[in-house]
């Protein structure tokens, strides 16, 4: 297994850093360019959620990314210690959004672009999103575990 851990400030400009870093790390596996683009979208959504919803756009907190790859399999965890999600089932509904300007598609994209996807969250303590996918294999969208 190969692993990497990244911690960065909860600033929106770090969303691009996160997805590029993940893309670089998982490119050691046999992913196509199209796969990598999908993984970047999923990471972008998860990190944006941590910053905007977890930390309420406060730039003084930390988002943690844990990356693991082994035998054509990659796993990404996006962890914040923010306000957490009260009702995960509701948050996972397509088009659910707390903001009319946002599409509520973040979780839908994460599920579409990953094989396995789970959300652990404790109100007041934070959220941990775990998503994984194999390289070089046909893929079915994830059914979320909560």
């Amino acid at each position: 297994m190969n692993k990497a851990v990244l911690e960065f400030s909860s600033r929106t400009e770090n969303v691009a850093f996160a997805r590029v870093a993940v893309a670089a790390f998982v490119s050691q596996l046999d992913f196509t360019l199209s796969d990598i683009e999908e993984i970047k979208v999923a990471v972008s959504e998860a990190v944006s959620n941590a910053i905007i919803h977890g930390y309420g756009n406060n730039p003084d907190h930390t988002v943690r990314l844990e990356l693991r790859v082994a035998e054509e399999y990659m796993e990404i965890e996006v962890i914040d210690q923010g306000k957490g999600i009260k009702d995960i089932s509701q948050a996972l509904e397509p088009a659910y959004s707390t903001d009319p300007e946002r599409m509520g598609l973040g979780f839908a994209f994460m599920q579409s672009f990953m094989e396995k996807f789970s959300v652990q969250s404790t109100p007041g303590k934070g959220t941990r999103i775990k998503m994984s996918r194999r390289a070089g294999a046909p893929r079915q969208a994830a059914v979320p575990e909560q």
Partner: protein, 112 residues
């Protein structure tokens, strides 16, 4: 990421390049809304030919502007999306709400 906003005929044309995510969507949204108001326009064209990446935050700006101009009888057109961007547009359902063209040239031909 950068963008230009200009009036062409009766349309506000927003040309976007680079990566569109949450770091830029607030200023993009405000600048488009201000230009729509200043020019008094209700029709909007997004030239996406330079967009290399978009996530749901970027799509939210497009949807929000759609809701705004559609409420006043206006239309939103999308042009030039690259394959990976088009895939995101398709998955989001936005293409069911607005017309999409392979290029701004093809769109202007249609608009006449």
């Amino acid at each position: 990421m950068n963008y230009t906003i200009k009036k062409e005929k009766d349309y506000l044309v927003v040309s976007i390049s680079g990566e569109v995510d949450i770091s830029i969507t607030d200023s993009l949204r405000e600048d488009i809304d201000r230009a729509l108001q200043d020019y008094g326009l209700n029709n909007l064209i997004f030239d996406l030919s330079g967009v290399e990446f978009v996530d749901s935050a970027g799509l939210g700006v497009i949807l929000g502007r759609y809701k705004k101009v559609a409420a006043r009888g206006g239309k939103v057109y999308l042009a030039g999306a690259r394959p990976q961007v088009k895939k995101i547009l398709e998955l989001s359902g936005l293409l069911g709400l607005m017309d999409e063209y392979p290029s701004t040239g093809a769109l202007w031909e249609k608009l006449g």
